[in-house]
């Protein structure tokens, strides 16, 4: 039953986070890796073959999965959601299941099942079921007690930010008081073969914003953020302040050369947050490490911030490109930055490329206070996303 849209939409706060990635299991593992500016990229025997452009990837530890794992995406998503729900348990205690929604972000869902079926390898019923993102979302909702609205978003590499925006809108519309936002993709032969066909992988591991960068490093992760209506969260909780999305309308897989699409998304986000560019204290970039993306992103930042670009950095040298999980896990990086007042660095950076704004943060450092943080992602199909988080 939909309540009428309130004239001033309620604020949406973050009540809990969960993560599993190449740098380990848990938000604490992520925080440690950020403070150490560590990289989780490693060689993986799974992809040590002429079929794949590189075997350096951002993989979750093998022992996390079952032997002959059929359903890796469910495993990753459930772990992240369990962690987030534990962190938010006090808040969730007073919210009935019918008032809890779930939005899943994934680009390929359980594509593992497609490989197994095609190759006549064993494939469990649930693994096959989870080929469909909407059913994966429904099953996560059922297991974790989200009895309200369920959606599955698949908007390429912007899926995670899109899912967070959906969660916020569902709460603002009064359809739920809490939303579990989950982002997940696993490192599949399918995705490795695809990026190999694109010759888009850096054979030596990605180096976002580096002069010698030459491609991305595929990665995998499960990440979850629990959003709640502000009155359920403590005043100090981090809030979703605003967002913006746009399309380049230029080319299916190459970003608009002048960064104008991403610049538009950033401006829309700033307007929705009622903030000036100068009020942004840190930007977490998309920074895949491909020559085109990082150049385009540098131009977009210049277009919006001029020569006064706030400190910015990218996490893909640490995690790899986690596709559907990227927007969620990289937003958790922003949450950690806000909570601890520190600027994350850019792992694997040696020497910034020409044209990259000077405010690129190489090594992490503490700052007096972070108030407003901007998160960016861009994806195939020309989609651009920007999200602004603020301190309570």
């Amino acid at each position: 039953m939909r309540e009428p849209t309130p004239t001033t939409p309620p604020q949406v706060a973050i009540a809990g986070c969960g993560a599993i990635s190449a740098v380990g299991c848990g938000v604490e593992a992520l925080r440690s890796a950020l403070r150490a500016n560590a990289s989780g990229l490693r060689t993986s025997e799974r992809f040590n073959s002429p079929r794949f452009q590189s075997c350096i990837v951002g993989a979750v530890a093998e022992d996390f999965f079952e032997a002959d794992e059929n359903d890796p995406v469910y495993r990753l998503a459930a772990e992240a959601l369990r962690q987030a729900r534990d962190e938010a348990q006090t808040v969730l205690h007073s919210i009935p299941a019918a008032r809890i929604g779930l939005v899943l972000a994934t680009t390929k869902a359980n594509i593992e099942a497609l490989e197994r079926i095609s190759e006549n390898r064993p494939c469990s019923d649930s693994a096959r079921r989870h080929l469909q993102g909407n059913l994966l979302a429904a099953d996560l909702a059922a297991e974790f007690g989200a009895g309200g609205k369920v959606q599955c978003v698949s908007a390429a590499c912007v899926s995670g930010l899109s899912a967070i925006q959906q969660g916020a809108k569902i709460i603002q519309r009064g359809e739920a008081d809490a939303v579990f936002v989950v982002g997940v993709d696993h490192l599949s032969a399918f995705v490795m073969a695809g990026f190999t066909a694109f010759k888009a992988i850096d054979p030596n591991g990605c180096r976002p914003f580096d002069a010698a960068r030459s491609g991305l490093s595929p990665g995998e992760a499960g990440a979850a953020i629990i959003l709640v209506r502000e009155n359920f969260a403590p005043g100090s909780a981090i809030k979703i302040r605003g967002w913006g999305t746009s399309n380049d309308a230029n080319h299916l897989t190459g970003p608009s050369r002048d960064g104008s699409g991403l610049a538009l998304a950033i401006r829309i986000a700033l307007n929705s947050a009622k903030l000036l560019p100068a009020e942004i204290n840190y930007i977490n970039a998309h920074g895949t490490g491909t020559p085109y993306n990082d150049a385009m992103e540098s131009m977009a930042l210049r277009a919006v911030f001029g020569e006064a670009c706030p400190p910015f950095s990218g996490a893909k040298g640490m995690l790899g490109h986690t596709l559907g999980a990227a927007g969620v896990i990289e937003t958790i990086v922003c949450v950690l930055a806000l909570r601890d007042n520190f600027l994350p660095g850019t792992p694997r950076l040696n020497s910034p490329a020409d044209g990259v704004p000077d405010s690129l943060v190489r090594e992490p450092r503490l700052v007096a206070k972070l108030n407003h943080v901007l998160k960016l992602n861009t994806g195939f199909g020309g989609i651009n996303g920007a999200l602004i988080l603020s301190h309570g």
Binding site: T107, I111, S162, F190, G194, A197, G381
Partner: protein
């Protein structure tokens, strides 16, 4: 409060593609993108009359991009490897990209996997929130035989589309509406 109107609806099936030629790249698009472009063409909307950054695209694909995923994976052992062109379409949002490119629509995009229940509601919400002034809504049911076999469903290939606009000519979007976009479109064309 501005009224939200349905300015146009359309429905297309694979058979309609025989006469279609929409852009020089058309042969390289996957089936879902071809049908989505054709459905939007059939809406007959004059996009020139509106600022392009205020036109959103909201799409749902019943089985995601599974049909193209299966086709891509089938070519994995070919000499030279699987097709990079196909890989570009192993995302349901590729169809959004093609619509955006053809009509130069730079506004917000939403892309869902599953049935059409949220397409109209989310599109209307974008308009109410002021994030867009119009929205191209598309629902794709493109399931090849290979994909159908994998998810134990039946093959199908049709797309429904709808153009929502703030004010302007058209039927007013009712408060409560069919969550099934296909039957909703059929009703409005009748």
């Amino acid at each position: 409060m501005d009224k939200i109107v349905i300015a146009a609806t359309s429905q297309v099936a694979e058979a309609d593609l025989k006469l279609a030629r929409l852009g020089s790249r058309f042969g390289r698009l996957d089936l879902m993108s071809q049908l989505a472009l054709l459905a939007v063409e059939k809406l007959g909307v004059n996009f020139d009359s509106l600022p392009r950054e205020r036109i959103a695209i909201c799409l749902a694909a019943r089985a995601g991009s599974l049909a193209t995923d299966a086709e891509f994976w089938k070519g994995r052992d070919a000499a030279g490897g699987p097709s990079p062109t196909l890989f570009a379409y192993t995302l349901p949002s590729a169809a959004i990209g093609e619509i955006a490119i053809r009509h130069r629509l730079t506004g917000p995009n939403l892309c869902f996997v599953g049935d059409s229940r949220d397409v109209l509601a989310e599109a209307a919400d974008l308009l109410r929130r002021g994030e867009a002034d119009a929205c191209v809504c598309v629902y794709c049911e493109v399931v090849s035989s290979a994909a159908a076999g994998m998810i134990q469903s039946t093959p199908t290939s049709n797309v429904s589309a709808l153009f929502l606009q703030r004010d302007g000519a058209g039927q007013i979007l009712p408060e409560e509406f069919d969550s099934d976009m296909e039957s909703f479109c059929a009703k409005f064309r009748a």
